[in-house]
Amino acid sequence: YAITHNNPRWTKTHLTYSILNYTPYLPRAVVEDAIERAFRVWSDVTPLTFERVFDEEGDIVFSFHRGDHGDSKPFDGSIYHFAHAFLPGPGLGGNVHYDLDQKWTDNNENFNLFYVTAHELGHSLGLSHSNDEEALMFPSYTWGNKDFVLNQDDINRIQALYGPSPNPIQPTGSTPNPCNSGLTFDAMTTYRGDVIFFKDRFYFRVISFLPEPLINPIDLIWPNLPGKFDAAYEASMVDELRFFKGNKVWAVREKSVLRGFPRDIHSFFGFPSDVTHIDAAVCEEKTGKTYFFVDHMYWRYDENTRSMDPGYPRLTAEDFPGINDKVDDVFQKGGNFYFFHQSIQHRFNLHTRRIDDSGDSRTWFNC
């Protein structure tokens, strides 16, 4: 999947482009700006330069079409084929076609014109699809509420065709590798006996009988959740997972976000209004008490009465001796709470009320 079949590429580095028509969903200036920004994605990392021409057809022509438009790739108005592009070459080569019946946007709603154009231009320049879920050239539409940067896999492949740019930008990482030292996580939770670690838009699912964790994009299971959570925990008595981001909570059962969520944490749990986020959370299975960690304090919530226990918040280190740093993540496994601060974990024995082991968080991934 690296370079497209028989390796088609442009033999010149200065390419022209023209825009044949527009979508009714966006002002022309917004369309032109989206296309310009999409070209910059590729010119930033290669010697390629692009220039718009008006009185002639450019090397690359952008156009919107409905249904069958004579190129053997008819649109059908479905979300499974919202655009396509042609590999480098004369005539149709390099051209980008958008489905006129799709809703084109310049925000997070489907489909973001800039993001789709940057992807299709990858094809116009000679790239095929990537198997890196984090790459721009991944086949599925993966635009999310994040600042767009080209990832390492895209940079490597386009530079294999055209070489590096005189002003290379710093490449980004591709799919996170759980065995990278110093890796930290956004959130962690148990789930029906497994342990799930969340990082950016991915989850690592540690299943006891598998030698390695399963790594997948979060939206493969939970497409309606935001990325980069602050915390998560399993309320096993109701078979729910709860995800936190800012002052919002999402309750999830299997793949579905429960009706009425997200809710704010104040009305749902009873937090005071000055609590703006949760760092970590865990529900102690035996007691049904959930512990919420915020900075160096913690609250305790009773899942059975669905109310905050009186007398909180309390200092974490007072009731969990040795847990002196801010708690980034926590989950329960057996009779222990596993507390994480950056890439270090402490195993806290709930019976002896002491830390009885500490180490690197990577021990869960069989590196």
Partner: protein
Amino acid sequence: LPVFQDGRRQNVETAWKYLEKYYNLGKDMQAKNVNAKEVMAEKLREMQQLFGLKVTGNSDPETLRAMRKPRCGVPDVAP
């Protein structure tokens, strides 16, 4: 098309259309004189590998979910 675990018609059509569109299923079916099951399973494995899914050769729920996501119209494999 016996590769499908749950056999629901909808899933069969989804997978068949997807593999035809993006993995040259139709053409390969003509070109090769192997039966549908092997070609289908081979294409499913190709797709599962590209999408970072468990490579089973079956249209399991996770594979079907990936097939139902919005995507680019350019095929995933060379003609």
